[in-house]
């Protein structure tokens, strides 16, 4: 029996390929076997690209055979959130309305990773159109938290997080509009990052809320995170909002030295809403940073309490326009037996979307309506500017901000589906970051007594992902424990 590579990191795989101790095909086979073994329980994948993956792996092997050098991610198996456009396979956003849809183009991040020689294993599950915090809103299936199959993996990129943690891939791509990368990374126990708005091209990301959406990676450690960010970051002419700001080599930024760092703890985040066990985890994590020489201070983000309200006005408003195109005219689902165009729209959307998507489209349509625009959308934009200013002021005093990623560990499947507001509160610590456009990452900071992962969220200044990753790296190197692997087999 060939060696099982499924628990390896990207840099370990690169070393093995580079030294010839494994082939990309062996490694890919290893992951395909792992998927076969555990995905029946986890249900992360909605589309497995076996042949495509093996072909990509063979390409890497033939490069190696010819004596050519390979990049650090060549032959590394990835999973892709189904919100990203890929020419291969389907792109459905886990919605009935896009069932069977094939994109005529690859997202920029997919192109760049393919160029880097990555092996794509397939598409993974998500809340429909990335709307949700538990992946329960998928029209395809419910993904399980690998640590406890009764629990949710978080969302909306639940499939991406669960696949990494269950060793069904080395790394994955997700999208984060209000916490959709960081929250599932925390709930499943892996590293997940939402880059600065504009750092990574959104071309090929099916839009939920255009001014908040950002693509980012899930990885097993910070070193891999830097490798993926090196490839996907940077200006793309096809995305006008992508920034023309030089991208540093993130791998070189990873040093176990944070003596120049000041960590800010926002007092508004450490309230009674925070689960005591989670609070204790964060406090120990911060102590480790302090022990490594970082200075810790209290900061204030005074407009925090408005973040959720502002977020649900802006994201639903943008979503109501972004999702208007799914109308049955050109592609995707079209309701049969309709009398006229109006009925076609109504029936297509009623049958094609799940309840949460419908709820958000209606909310967004309402807040933009004549007579309500000023009271909702315009006011929300003004408060958004204040939230952004809160962070600017806090970052005058510190380099990074440390918070919990999620107020609670993973909850049980079905626990919050009846109460959308309760579900929305899962993102209370992550939402402000998207409103401000700044980068944030989540790194595992231990297991709770019931054996569920918790995440430390680190926030940084715009386009200063390097510092963020350095602090996370130092923490990872010095935390003194490894949360280990979920007991799946």
């Amino acid at each position: 029996m060939a060696r099982d590579w499924s628990s390896a990191t990207g840099h370990e795989i690169h070393d093995a390929l580079h030294h010839g101790t494994a082939t990309a095909s062996d490694i890919t086979q290893s992951f395909l076997r792992r998927i076969e073994a555990v995905d029946g329980k986890v249900r992360a994948y909605v589309d497995i690209w076996k042949d495509h993956a093996l072909k990509q792996a063979e390409n890497v092997d033939s490069r190696l055979k010819r004596g050519q050098t390979i990049g650090p991610l060549a032959g590394v198996p990835f999973a892709i959130k189904d919100v990203l456009c890929t020419k291969h396979g389907h792109t459905t956003c886990c919605s009935r309305i896009l069932k069977g849809y094939r994109s005529p183009f690859d997202a920029t991040v997919i192109e760049r990773l393919e160029q880097a020689g990555v092996v794509f294993l397939g598409k993974v599950n998500m809340d429909e159109f990335a709307m949700g915090s538990s992946t329960e809103n998928s029209s395809v299936q419910v993904t399980r938290n690998p640590w406890d199959l009764k629990c949710v993996p978080g969302g909306s990129s639940g499939g991406s997080a669960a696949a990494v943690v269950a060793d069904e891939c080395v790394a994955s791509l997700g999208s984060d509009t209000g916490g959709s990368i960081r929250q599932p990374a925390a709930l499943c126990g892996c590293v997940g990052m939402k880059p600065t708005y504009g750092r990574v091209s959104r071309y090929g990301l099916v839009a939920f809320a255009s001014s908040l959406d950002q693509i980012g990676p899930f990885t097993k450690d910070v070193e891999d995170l830097a490798l993926v960010m090196n490839v996907i970051s940077g200006r793309d002419e096809r995305d006008s909002t992508s920034a023309d700001i030089p991208v540093p080599n993130y791998s070189q930024a990873l040093r176990d030295d944070i003596s120049d760092i000041t960590v800010g703890l926002p007092k508004e985040y450490y309230t009674d809403a925070l689960n005591p066990e989670m609070r204790q985890k964060i406090e120990s994590a911060v102590k480790i940073l302090e022990a490594r020489g970082a200075k810790v201070i209290e900061v204030s983000l005074p407009h925090t309490e408005y973040a959720i309200a502002v977020y649900y006005i802006i994201c639903t408003a943008e979503a109501s326009a972004n999702l208007a195109r799914f109308d049955g005219v050109r592609y995707g689902y079209r309701a049969p037996k309709v009398a006229d165009v109006q009925e076609m729209y109504a029936k297509t959307k009623t049958d094609g979307y799940g309840r949460e998507v419908q709820r958000r489209i209606l909310l967004g349509t309402y807040v933009l309506s004549s007579g309500y625009y000023d009271a909702y959308y315009l006011k929300a934009q003004k408060v958004r500017a204040l939230i952004r200013k809160d962070f600017e002021e806090a970052f005058q005093k510190c380099n990074v901000i440390a918070t919990p990623t999620s107020p609670t560990p993973a909850f049980e499947i079905g626990a919050k589906t009846a109460d959308p507001l309760e579900m929305y509160l899962s993102d209370i610590y992550t939402i402000s970051v998207n409103l401000a456009g700044i980068p944030g990452l989540s790194v595992p900071c231990g297991l709770t007594q019931s054996g569920l992962p918790s995440g430390l969220q680190l926030l940084g200044k715009p386009f200063d992902e390097a510092t963020l990753m350095r602090v996370a790296y130092a923490y990872e190197k010095n935390r003194g424990f490894d949360i280990g692997k979920p007991p799946l087999t």
């Binding site: 792109t91 071309y203 090929g204 809320a209 909002t241 109501s320 208007a324 050109r330 004549s370 625009y373």
Partner: protein
């Protein structure tokens, strides 16, 4: 009671850039259906718009030509509504921060000039085209036009008659054509006008309820549609009724406007800023570069023609009615012709030939050099003006040089004095009646005698010589 009409025009102009406003597809939409399309203009999932700089430059050029203030900072917005010809079910347009504002356009009606305010000019994308009855009771959508750049130019409600509205449209069209930013073909939809019309008693300062008149598919409809709508509103008020705020369509067959949509069912477009595009920042150097590249505009050119070529205001107006016409005229002068005959030939015989052949001066087969050469042949006496009229037709039909045609057809004027004297003698002998009438003081018969000499020479006789010789001989 006396009423006055209040009219504002909204004009949509298709800009003739090479590629569409938010993608690289060609703007040629007469291609086979759905061939000039891509994921962006089809509104596929995951695409993003990228603003075409050439569109901004054309729009700013128009703004400057219309004396607008160009916003140093403007943005694009989403206008939301559902229709199958709208790929994303929202149109990217500009709402509260248009690219150009506060301009004006000078029109002339009955010799009176008047300045009409321009509220704004903004960029937006065109929609696709629904095609009905494609077979099997189905309708189709052709997305070739989806994303073709449009400039919407909105006037202040300062037009007071259909005639003024018409003059405004013509003047606007002329400027747009001078800038070469649009074909301005109303019949083909590259220029579309909508009129906001209301009436009020003379002396009142309050606006009446307005209607929006759409579906005006040609310049001549504009005047008729607005005239009809003014009369309809006045009649409604006179009969004690009230004008409803609504959209009305011009129906050319019945010559009336027909109600299409009332205010109650009007769209709520739910405008909000387009998050996929960054604001348009127009720095001063960019605006300056566009301003410096502006061509001479119609009014300036007209004034210069009057001054430089001593043309009448009327002639200068006709010759500057299109840039192509003005350029043609000046090329003829550059080739050596004098201004007055060049103007007369272009505005008279040449224009008649162009009109009859339904063609434009841009594609005229007579080059400016040839026209100038023909004028020289008249002046040096090689051909008569009368012959020249026929020669011009030949030149127009064959594209040949006038000299070559004159030789080929033997059109050279007869200036052989002894031959002309011989013919004159014969004419005098053959027409004793008119000759004695002339000698008795009936000068009119002289023309008849000249005509007889010309006839005998098949029109080739030099008319000046014929005059002189006849007068001489009759005086004997």
């Amino acid at each position: 009671m006396q009423y006055e009409a209040i009219i504002g025009l909204e004009v949509h102009v298709e800009l003739n850039t090479q590629s569409k406003v938010f993608c690289r597809c060609s703007t040629k939409f007469d291609a086979p259906p759905n061939t000039n399309v891509c994921p962006v203009c089809l509104g596929m999932p995951g695409v993003l718009p990228v603003l075409n700089r050439a569109v901004v430059e054309s729009a700013v050029a128009v703004g400057l030509a219309l004396n607008c203030t160009v916003s140093s900072w403007s943005k694009l917005d989403r206008k939301n509504y559902f229709y199958p010809d709208l790929a994303k079910n929202y149109q990217i347009s500009q709402y509260d921060l248009p690219l150009c504002r506060h301009g004006s356009l000078e029109i002339e009606v009955n010799g009176q000039s008047k300045r009409i305010g321009i509220t704004r000019a903004h960029i937006e994308e065109d929609t696709a085209r629904n095609v009905h009855d494609i077979g099997g009771g189905e309708s189709g959508v052709d997305f070739n036009r989806s994303g073709v750049p449009l400039l919407e130019i909105v006037s202040e409600p300062e037009l007071r008659s259909a005639q003024e509205a018409y003059a405004y449209l013509l003047q606007l069209k002329q400027i747009l054509q001078y800038l070469n930013v649009s074909d301005c073909n109303m019949e083909e939809g590259s220029l579309r006008a909508e009129a906001n019309v209301s009436v009020r008693p003379v002396g009142s300062t309050k606006f009446g309820t307005k209607t929006e008149v759409k579906n005006i598919a040609s310049f001549s409809f504009t005047q008729r549609a607005i005239d009809y709508e003014i009369k309809r509103q006045i009649q409604t008020l006179e009969e004690g009724g009230t004008v409803r705020q609504e959209t009305r369509g011009w129906d050319d067959r019945s010559g009336t406007t027909v109600s299409q949509r009332s205010k109650e069912s009007a769209h709520d477009y739910r405008y909000f800023p387009e998050p996929d595009l960054v604001p348009i920042a127009m720095d001063e150097t960019w605006v300056k570069r566009i301003r410096e590249a502006l061509p001479e505009l119609p009014q300036a050119k007209r004034a210069r023609f009057i001054e430089q070529y001593r043309l009448s205001a009327y002639d200068a107006g006709v010759l500057t009615s299109s840039k192509a016409m003005a350029d043609y005229f000046e090329s003829v002068l550059k080739a050596g012709a004098a201004a007055k005959p060049a103007a007369n030939w272009i505005m008279g015989d040449l224009q008649a030939l162009l009109t009859a052949a339904k063609t434009e001066i841009e594609s005229c087969s007579i080059t400016p050099n040839h026209l100038s050469e023909m004028i020289r042949l008249i002046e040096d006496g090689t051909i008569s003006g009368k012959i020249a009229k026929h020669l011009l037709v030949d030149m127009f039909q064959t594209g040949k040089a006038p000299k070559a045609l004159v030789e080929e057809k033997g059109l050279v004027q007869i200036s052989d004095i002894s031959w002309l004297e011989q013919v004159a003698r014969e004419v005098i002998v053959a027409n004793p009646g008119p000759v004695s009438d002339y000698r008795a003081g009936k000068e009119k018969t002289f023309g008849f005698l000249v005509g007889q000499v010309m006839k005998a020479s098949k029109g080739k006789a030099n008319p000046k010589l014929v005059n002189d010789i006849l007068k001489q001989q009759l005086a004997k």
